[in-house]
Structure formats: C-alpha cells, structure tokens
C-alpha cells in the first residue's frame, strides 16, 4: 500500500510539532523516520495511525484519503515503544485481541492465526504467559505478532528497539528487516538511532524541529548529505567541519581551510559563485600519515581504541579533527602526525543556510 503525506502539519497549541511534511512511500517500502528527540517523529506516526488528527494537510493510503478515519478503519498494525501489551491478558489473548474485535473471524480461525503469527516471531511456547512474565525481547515479539495478526496494509513501529539491550537490538534489527521483506508490508519505522535507520530502511526521512531535512536512501544520505544537519547527524563519529575559502587556480576550483588546499572534482563544484563554504570531511576519509606526507599536520590529542579501529582526535591549529585509524596505529598523545584528506570525499555547504553547495 502506497502512503502519501501531503503538507502534513500538527500543532499543539502554539507549538508546531510537525510542519508541512511531504513524504511518499512506495508500496512495500521500509521507511525510517529519523531525527533527534522531540523532532516530531512520534507525532507523525500517530497521525498516520489516526490517533492524532492533523491540524492541516492530508494522508493518503493508496489513492484514498484517510485523515478522517478512525484508527480501526485504517488497516494498520502498530508496535509501540512501550510495547503496550495488555497486562490482564495472556500472550495468546493479546495477539488474538485485534481478531476478537472483528466479528467475522471465528474462534478456530482466530486460534490458527494467533499460532501462525506467534510462530513467525518464534514465541509459540509463550502463549499462556502474561506480559509481566516475559523478558523485554519476548514482549517485543508479542507486540510484533499482535501488530501483524490482522494482516494490516501498513505496519508502524515507534522506536521498537530502544528498550532492548545492545545485543538483542542487533538481532531484532535483522529480524524485523527480514520479516518486513518476507511479508512485503509497507512499514514506517521511527528511530532516533541513525545506525538503525541506515541498516534497516530502504529510505530514510531525516527530521528536525518538525521539518523534513532529507529523504533518501541510506547510501545517498551518507554519500551526498543534502545539508549540514544531515551530514552531521548521519555517520559515527560525526563529520568534521571547518570553514573554507573557495578560489580558482589554473582554471580549476580549490578550497583552502586550515592550511589544507585541495582541488575540487567536477562533482563537487558549487553551483553559483560561492566564495565561502563550510567544508566537511568524515573521520573515515581522513588518514594518518607521517607529518611530511599529509595535507596538513597536527598533534594527537587523544586515542580511543575500539577494537576493529581506533578513533584519533588530532589537534590542527584551533580545531580538533576526528580521524579513524587502523588498529595498527601506534601514535600516542602529543605525537605530531600528518593528515591526508580524500579530496573526492569532501563535502561543501553554504556557511549560512547550511545547504549543500554542489
């Protein structure tokens, strides 16, 4: 089922939680709503679910406008951040609840579908328990089964992984993604964790202060962030930024910043006549070399080993740059090092508007 949000706005009193949001999801697509706390993700999801009424704008499922419909008439399944399992019902009763409310489905079919849904998320052996007798991960599976049992057209997930421990989160990430593809259900997934969004979603909508910042595939968000906010929000550790001046030399455009001077590739050439820019470079696109070989030299400020790699902060003039170094790197605090910049991986943003220049 295709989902379209048109100029969707929600105000609580004077506060606009979501502003003029335009978003289109293809049938079967897995879309993540990503953004920092309070940016309006849950509000957006609750409007799609029909729990909040939009202040203005439209919501379409397929070609049908649904913003006047009660949640029960929208054909959605939803997993809440708190899981929202009914404490007075067993697991089987929880999962069967959406079916029980529909007169058309008899008891035998209901039982059969409850077992089927439970089997899908591998909780068949827990059907007689109460939610209070389950672990967080098991509760989460019950919530998933309950959301899927009525075979909805659209699945909504509000931070489904944030209450799980790191290990389980990783496992469930893969399972939810697989389940979504298996069923082929259009899904909207809310998260504030960029790693979750990037690893699970087909497309990611980045939000900030109720506004859409970018809507693109994970690859694109990473490779060509549309503005500085997205560039900083996507990727760990975050991108390094510094002010740069753009000038020309021998007919090509060069950027100068902090003693670094690099020639821009054609893809990086700014539209228009920008002279000032904010230059961004990801830690993984800087490498530590001997002081003589680098585009710039600096001093090791701190080294954080992470096992597979090390994060090294290097003081360059007034600025501290984050660099990812291989585990073999043996520099110590205070060492002088050179930094080599992968010129083709530099990003340039307008210093005032923050928009991408190229």
């Amino acid at each position: 089922m295709r989902v379209v949000l048109e100029q969707l706005t929600k105000k609580f009193g004077d506060v606009a939680a979501v502003r003029e949001l335009d978003l289109e999801m293809r049938s079967g697509e897995f879309v993540a709503l990503l953004g920092p706390s309070g940016c309006g993700k849950t509000t957006t999801l609750l409007m799609v679910a029909g729990i909040y009424r939009p202040t203005s704008g439209a919501i379409l499922f397929g070609d049908r406008r649904v913003d006047h419909l009660h949640p029960k008439d929208r054909g959605i399944g939803m997993v809440f951040q708190s899981y929202a399992l009914y404490p007075h019902m067993t697991v089987a009763e929880n999962i069967g609840f959406p079916l029980e409310l529909r007169r058309a489905i008899g008891k035998p079919e209901r039982d059969q579908r409850v077992r089927e849904a439970a089997g899908r998320v591998e909780i068949d052996d827990l059907l007689d328990r109460r939610p209070s007798q389950l672990s967080g991960g098991q509760q989460q599976r019950v919530a998933l089964a309950r959301a899927l049992v009525k075979r909805p057209d659209i699945l909504l997930l509000d931070e489904p992984l944030s209450n799980l421990d790191a290990r389980l989160r990783h496992d469930m990430r893969g399972e939810i993604k697989r389940l979504q593809k298996e069923i082929g259900i259009t899904s909207i997934f809310v998260t504030h964790d960029q790693l979750e969004a990037l690893t699970m979603a087909d497309r990611v909508a980045v939000m900030r202060n109720g506004r859409l910042q970018a809507y693109a595939t994970p690859d694109e968000l990473y490779a060509r962030p549309r503005n500085r906010f997205v560039a900083e929000f996507i990727g760990t550790p975050p991108m390094n930024f510094f002010p740069a001046e753009l000038g020309s030399r021998n007919g090509s455009v060069v950027a100068r910043a902090e003693g670094i001077e690099v020639e821009l590739t054609r893809a990086q050439l700014p539209r228009g006549e920008a002279r000032q820019a904010t230059m961004g470079v990801r830690p993984e696109h800087l490498s530590i070399v001997s002081p003589a070989d680098g585009n710039v030299t600096g001093e090791v400020y701190v080294v954080e080993p992470m096992g597979r790699e090390q994060i090294v902060d290097v003081q360059v003039g007034e600025r501290r740059l984050r660099v990812i170094a291989p585990p073999g790197f043996t520099g110590r605090i205070g060492d002088r090092v050179g930094l080599r910049v992968a010129a083709e991986r530099l990003h340039f943003f307008d210093p005032t508007s923050g928009e991408r220049l190229s």
């Binding site: 609750l46 679910a49 029909g50 729990i51 009660h70 949640p71 029960k72 959605i76 399944g77 939803m78 809440f80 951040q81 708190s82 899981y83 929202a84 399992l85 009914y86 404490p87 007075h88 609840f97 959406p98 409310l101 529909r102 109460r130 939610p131 209070s132 967080g136 509760q139 309950r146 959301a147 009525k150 209450n163």
Partner: protein, 320 residues
Amino acid sequence: MARIEEITLPRERPTPARWRFNATALLFMGPAMVLVLVFFIAPVIITFAMSFTDLATSTGLSNWQWIGPENYARIFRSQFWLPILGNTLVYVAVVLAFNVIVGLGVALLSVHMEPKAGGVFRALWLLPRISPSVVYALMWTWAAASPPFGMLNYVVAPFGLEPRYWIQSDPWLIVIFINGFVGASFGMLILTSAIKAIPEDLFRAAQVDGASALQVIRRITLPLIKWPILFVLVYQTMSLFASYEYIYLTTNGGPGLFATETWSLWAFHSALSNYYGNLEFAYGAALAAILVIMGLGISMVLLRVFRFGQLVAEPRVEVE
C-alpha cells in the same frame, strides 16, 4: 565415587532469629501501634463490652450492671428489628450501586473529556462532599420542601409530575439521592486516578487493534481498574452501613414510625437521641456491635465474590 543419589543437600533449618524479639522494630512501630490500639481496637472492645451491661442515663456511670445478652434478646424481641434490617439492606444496596455506578460513570466521562472541562466536571461532583454535611442536607430539605416551595417541584414540573412534599411522599427517593450524590464523589476520585494511571499507549494500541470507544472501556479500562473498583465497593459498603447523618438530617428515620430508619440510625437514636430522654448507651452498643458484624460479613462476601486473593496476586497496572 559418590553416586548422585548419595549427595544430600543441607536441609534448611528454621531460623529462630526471625522470631526473636526485635526491640528496634518495636520502637519504630510502637507509636503507630499505640494509636491503632487506642483509636481502633479499644472502641470496638468497649462497644462489645458495653453491650452486655445496662448502662443508660438512668443508671449513670456508677449504678450499671452486667446483664448478659439481655440487650441482644431485647433487640430481637422488638417488632422493628426485621423492617429496620430490611431498610438497612435496601439502603446500602441501592446507595452503593448508585455511588459506584455514578462514580465510575463520572470518572469515565471526565477522563474522556477535554482535560480542563473534565476537571470542572469533576469539581462539580465534588461539591456535595466538600460542603458541610448540614449545609448539604439543608439544601436538599429546601429543594424537596413542600409545595408551593421546593426547587425539585419546579424541576419535575415539565415532566408532568404533580408537585408534592417529597420528604413525606417519597422519603426513600430523597434518602437515596442525598447519599448517592455525596458518595459518588469518592468512587469518582479513586477511579479517575486509577484510569489516569493506565498508560496512554494501552488505549492507543486498543484503538489501532480495532476497538471502539465502548470496547476500549469494556476490554481495557474496566479490567485494569478491577482492584480500585473492589476497593471502592468494600469501603463504601462499610461506610454506608455505619452512616446515618444525611438520613438523620432529612427524614430522621420517618415519616411515621421507622419508615426510613436504618440500623445505624436506630443505634444512634437509642444511644444518643432518645425521645424519652433516657439514653440507652448499652442498648445502642449492642445495636452497633451487630452493625460491625454485618459490615464485616458483607465485606467478606464481596471479597470472596471478587476473588480477592487472585486480584492481589496479579499485578495491577504495569507499564511494558
């Protein structure tokens, strides 16, 4: 090599330390225990003891005697004990139902309203409770005054009802309404906060699952506030058995001989407000003792009906 069967686990020995006199604990509990003893247990014992004497104004505090169960015998010899018991049961049952149903209804309505309107609505229902009993009762006697006065007569006039002196013509109606409206606020307060303690997500989930507003109430709200409802039921039963002040202030057990007299009012009349000026404290104490036993009995039945043990074993409201 030892076989598995041969391994004996050290048996857990009873721990006498647990039962040892714990002076510190007693020190902390002491003040509360004294209060409970003086204000809760002692009055019950004194009431029971007094019911086996002939203490009254005529005997004074010096001339009374133990007379055994004579007071009880006298109660059951009286031609009024059965009608009064009937009155009491009707009064408790009907007012209890009114209190709990209206209290629950107001609680449900008010939480589904816009928050400010809900607050005002609840405050209105609280008015009878926060106004002094005498003022509240007086308002009712005025409202139900004899024609051509009485606001009630004006209210019912459009429905084609004849004006009348309600306290005389329909005393039970007045007794039930005056107690019902004041008592409903108790259930309303307890149940409102109980409903508000249910995580919002449960209601949202139920809506997404396809429940209508009524189904949400029946399938989610009510089961989750079973425990507070039971509490309100038991508490109100006890207090209704013991309460008489609004009846006293309106019909005073009348009209006529004991038409709306309840057991507690009978005890009050006998012990503290006798027509003949001879206040029969001991007789009143016997009546009160029976009241205590009735209250306990009914509460126990209620707890059994609602399977109390199962209720407390079960978690009440839990997030996640």
